[in-house]
Symmetry: C2
Subunit: 248 residues, 2 copies
């Protein structure tokens, strides 16, 4: 009997061309998962992710689903996956869900977390998972700017895809800042995110924190609906897809 | 004026042949430090470590010292080092100390910490800093065995160097266990450690935890003064030199 499996997984995105399979490349997280599942099942298995993560972006809680027929129990299937997946991808949970569950279409909320090192050198043991900015940020200014970004807006100015034909309206329900020593962590929660949206938001907020932009500019940037109006795209290495929330 | 500098540093030992310079190899932590200091000073600088760490062993608090003449302040010298050292080595503090201070000869206590994953898969983001045992351990048995190891003993059975001519007597003041989920952390504190001593102690205690040895065997192993009597050498990747303590 074919069943629908939902998995939550974490990965170190450093050596991958992102989540989404592209042509023949096996250097994607989706590609790695499908490869292992196909070996088990004997026929191709399509894995649907809650969304793409860019090349180099990490995940603590990416969610995906796939339909497959197997005699393995959920526990055995998860063990099989973890045994054959490379050591930079790990399945944290695996459950049988309703047949119509779809990890992307049913997602109602996502949280991304961005890590910044403001000090001169990145922590040796975290160096692949943090952006080494090396400059001090005025976090109060950034918090002030973030207020204008919350709520429902057209985020076209914060979207890397210029030819985006679908709606670019999204709702940000929370942007929060947490400083520990010279490390800054910024969490973004919303109903969905456009291509590069978190990284462009982060780059623009960094420019505010460095004093290069005023917090008040955020409103104007949103209204311009133009990628050129916003700041730079912060690097992928500091970004984690933290969790995906579903209704049921 | 030539000054004596004391540094505390952390490093990811994964890609190094250990602390100690060997011939021409630059793939050692000491070699990297001396290379950067020689470039600054214009003449060779010898860096003395508190002790060697093996190939693949990490450090949160290795301590070293070197004599050098420079016009840079302590803060500038530390910044210079961190700028030119690779990103897997970081100087955490730098101070001018008394001329006769020697990081190895004056060390009175060291702590090593060993990390073990008992679950089936290592955490993706910690995978290079933990030993993937993948088996459950009986920690109470290990704690019982550890009691016999504490205090002053001849640790010849736990020394990889068979031709050791100096005393193999050392004093272990603490072995403590901390479990979090499927992760086990074991700390070893003592006045000094022989070649591979922590890793052989760890391998032997793991054998006790797996039920392959009895806790009571520890006393016999110590008395045999024979490396063959003890257990296997646990892999380097799980081991950290945590800190070195000095009298003043």
């Amino acid at each position: 009997m074919v069943r629908n499996y939902k998995i939550i997984l974490q990965y170190d995105g450093s050596r991958y061309d992102g989540w989404q399979k592209q042509g023949n490349t096996e250097k994607t997280v989706q590609g790695k998962l499908e490869q292992v599942l196909e070996r088990l099942s004997g026929s191709p298995v399509v894995v649907h992710g809650s969304g793409r993560t860019d090349a180099g972006v990490h995940a603590h809680g990416q969610t995906a689903n796939f339909h497959m027929e197997t005699e393995l129990s959920e526990k055995e299937l998860m063990q099989y996956l973890n045994q054959y997946l490379p050591e930079d991808i790990e399945v944290l949970s695996l459950d049988i869900v309703k047949d119509r569950f779809h990890s992307r279409l049913n997602a109602v909320e996502k949280t991304y977390v961005y890590h910044i090192e403001m000090g001169p050198k990145k922590d040796v043991f975290q160096r692949k998972y943090i952006y080494g900015l090396g400059k001090e940020l005025d976090i109060e200014r950034m918090e002030e700017a973030a207020v204008s970004l919350m709520g429902s807006h057209d985020f076209k100015s914060f979207c890397a895809n210029k030819k985006m034909k679908k709606s670019t309206v999204r709702t940000l329900t929370d942007i929060s800042f947490c400083q520990k020593g010279t490390k800054l962590t910024v969490s973004y929660t919303g109903d969905g995110f456009l291509h590069h949206m978190v990284r462009i938001l982060m780059g623009t907020l960094i420019e505010v924190g460095l004093g290069e932009r005023k917090p008040e500019e955020m409103k104007e940037i949103l209204l311009k609906e133009d990628r050129q109006a916003a700041g730079y795209t912060a690097p992928a290495e500091g970004l984690f897809l933290e969790r995906v929330v579903y209704d049921d």
